[in-house]
Symmetry: C2
Subunit: 177 residues, 2 copies
């Protein structure tokens, strides 16, 4: 078995974002049924100086799209950060999945040997090979924002569980035969 | 550039757990200096039916150790879930890092073709190849519990930031030359 940069990047981002999309559906549905303020939820946060839900979802999406852009040498689409509602956030996730699904495994040809270098704050740069970029930067950032979005929703009363976060993992689960 | 199951598993778990260890050090230090109840912190949670900090750290550690055990075909050590204090939790993380550091890249020989199959609840089993197990089960679970531990500490007033969560990523960051 071999695995590629494509398998590790798009193969993580797309299914996890699909799970996030379903989690946002649940939040919309439960806000309508339960005593949850749907208008407040996008602006909820876990600490005064942490980003609210809206920003967590935006950064999760952008981390995935920027990673695939850098790994393929393509320029990913730019999305305005203008989401206000849970439905808007769901739309952001869907737009991101659409972009990622449009990038083929063949677009990743040469990714294994691509050097990744991009500016950070001040005069610092991030500088590594493609695999290290994915393992040490893109994946931990991505999971940070997906999980914190989940944690904000849980903290504010949305009933979701590990099975929602990992709904895409069901393909590997079956009854004992 | 090639990357292996070893690079993706131990190469993720060890540095992220080292960052988590430093985060717990900061929590101990700040609890002593600021108005934070250090005895309460291990039992803090983000929702009444979510696990508290102590359990988040235990599961993060166990996800890493069980993954390396399954991927190498070794039996990892069993740790008692008896942590009560922040120092105890730090000890759990350090013990886990010690185990992971003792497993060499050569122990992973054949991991690429190893079938991973283990029981879940009821009569269900998880069943995939090693890479899919790592990508779709071990890594998302691991990050879930590390990030939720971070989010609990942030929510309860510990001053930490992305640089603490990603302190291990510094090796790829340098000034523009």
């Amino acid at each position: 078995m071999k695995f590629s940069i494509y398998d590790l990047s798009s193969g993580t981002f797309i299914p996890v974002l699909q799970s996030l999309s379903r989690i946002l559906d649940k939040a919309v549905q439960q806000a309508a049924e339960k005593n949850i303020d749907a208008a407040m939820l996008p602006h909820a946060r876990l600490a005064p100086d942490m980003y609210p839900l809206v920003k967590q979802v935006q950064i999760a999406c952008d981390t995935a799209k920027d990673a695939v852009g850098r790994l393929t040498g393509q320029k990913p689409p730019r999305f305005e950060d203008n989401e206000q509602t849970l439905d808007d956030l769901k739309g952001r996730v869907v737009k991101t999945i659409d972009y990622l699904q449009g990038v083929n495994s063949t677009d990743f040809e040469g990714a294994e040997t691509r050097a990744i270098l991009f500016p950070l704050i001040e005069n610092l740069v991030f500088d590594s090979n493609a695999f290290e970029y994915l393992r040490d930067w893109a994946l931990p950032h991505f999971y940070f924002h997906v999980v914190t979005a989940y944690d904000i929703l849980r903290h504010d009363g949305v009933e979701i569980g590990k099975r929602d976060y990992l709904s895409h993992t069901g393909i590997h689960i079956h009854p004992t035969s």
